[in-house]
């Protein structure tokens, strides 16, 4: 089905529900993963995922079709996740970096994390990166999102994304290989 037809189905009250169910089943897993990688906690990721779908539904009328539906939805999800973690940090009187460090330190106790020592170390290594590099690294390494798609989601050129990922990889490898 053409993307335009699918959007029309989402906007038509008669076909809206079934179209939205399809949107949910197509996007819930990849969106959850990208959100979880940003907010780190499962319950928070669940809240952000809910908000993302609600925002997508509420703003479908404003979707102009300049970018792909996929990029638009991913952009909403990343923005929601970043806004969420910043707000949460502000409420707890810390920076988002400090908050994430706290969460990573407690990952072993998280019932929804079954990683080993190396995985925890990788999370710690990611935290040493600047915010944007963290996002680029997570999207590329964990989610394997192509640079072209990432470019439309984040509004950054492919060249800048590649450079950012390359720098991130260097820093992470250094961190992982020390000690």
């Amino acid at each position: 089905m053409e993307e335009k037809d699918f959007i029309l189905q989402l906007l038509n009250p008669k076909t809206q529900n079934s179209a939205f169910q399809k949107l949910l089943s197509d996007y819930k897993r990849p969106l959850y993963n990208i959100i979880r990688n940003i907010v780190l906690d499962h319950d928070d990721a669940n809240d952000v995922l809910q908000n993302t779908f609600i925002k997508v539904f509420q703003n479908l009328n404003n979707f102009k079709g300049d970018s792909k539906l996929y990029s638009w939805i991913y952009r909403i999800a990343t923005n929601e996740a970043i806004t969420f973690i910043n707000k949460k940090a502000k409420i707890s009187g810390a920076t988002s970096g400090e908050l994430k460090s706290r969460i990573v330190e407690n990952l072993e106790a998280d019932t929804h994390f079954d990683g080993n020592e190396i995985q925890i170390k990788l999370q710690k290594a990611i935290l040493t990166l600047p915010e944007k590099q963290q996002l680029v690294f997570k999207m590329r390494y964990f989610e394997e999102i192509k640079y072209e798609e990432m470019s439309t989601i984040l509004g950054t050129s492919v060249g800048a994304l590649k450079a950012s990922y390359h720098l991130a990889v260097k820093k992470i490898e250094n961190f992982m290989n020390k000690d």
Binding site: Q16, N17, F20, L24, K28, R29, Y32, N33, R36, N37, L40, H42, N46, L49, Q50, F53, I54, F57, Q58, L107, H112, F113, D114, G115, N116, I118, Q119, I120, L122, Q123, Y141, F142, V169, I172, E173, M176, N177
Partner: protein
């Protein structure tokens, strides 16, 4: 320990998991969210705002006029009350008044009490109690 290389075959996963059946049970109630949104956000149009401002302005003017009028009436009532009080309860004697009044006040009084001498004479003639007047 083997050197870590990001492009290794054995890729490291994030290690994040979800509760069992999380994705299968993940749903969003659009109807509830829609109605929730409607009750949550009240949109006030610019015209309504203008209308409200006009009503507020009219009310302010009405209240101000009422308060002002009330104050003026109270002031008048006060002065009448004060006059009555002085005339009924004051210990001021005529001598006190004379000492308190300056020349200008006395001049004003004399202007106000400028009786016609002929009228006064006629009044005296027609009144039997002239003695009283003289002694007063």
């Amino acid at each position: 320990m083997k050197e870590f290389k990001i492009n290794d075959e054995n890729k490291i996963t994030s290690g994040f998991t979800t509760p069992e059946g999380y994705f299968e049970n993940f749903t969003i109630d659009l109807q509830n969210n829609e109605s929730h949104q409607k009750t949550d956000r009240k949109v006030i149009s610019i015209n309504t705002k203008r209308w409200l401002t006009s009503v507020a302005a009219v009310l302010i003017v009405a209240i101000s006029v009422t308060i002002y009028t009330k104050l003026v009436i109270e002031k008048t009532e006060d002065s009448i009350e004060m006059e009555n009080y002085i005339s009924n309860h004051s210990d001021l004697s005529q001598y006190d008044l004379i000492t308190l009044l300056d020349e200008k006040d006395i001049e004003n009084l004399s202007v106000e009490m400028n009786f016609n001498s002929t009228e006064t004479e006629e009044e005296y003639e027609n009144t039997n109690e002239i003695e009283n007047y003289i002694t007063e």
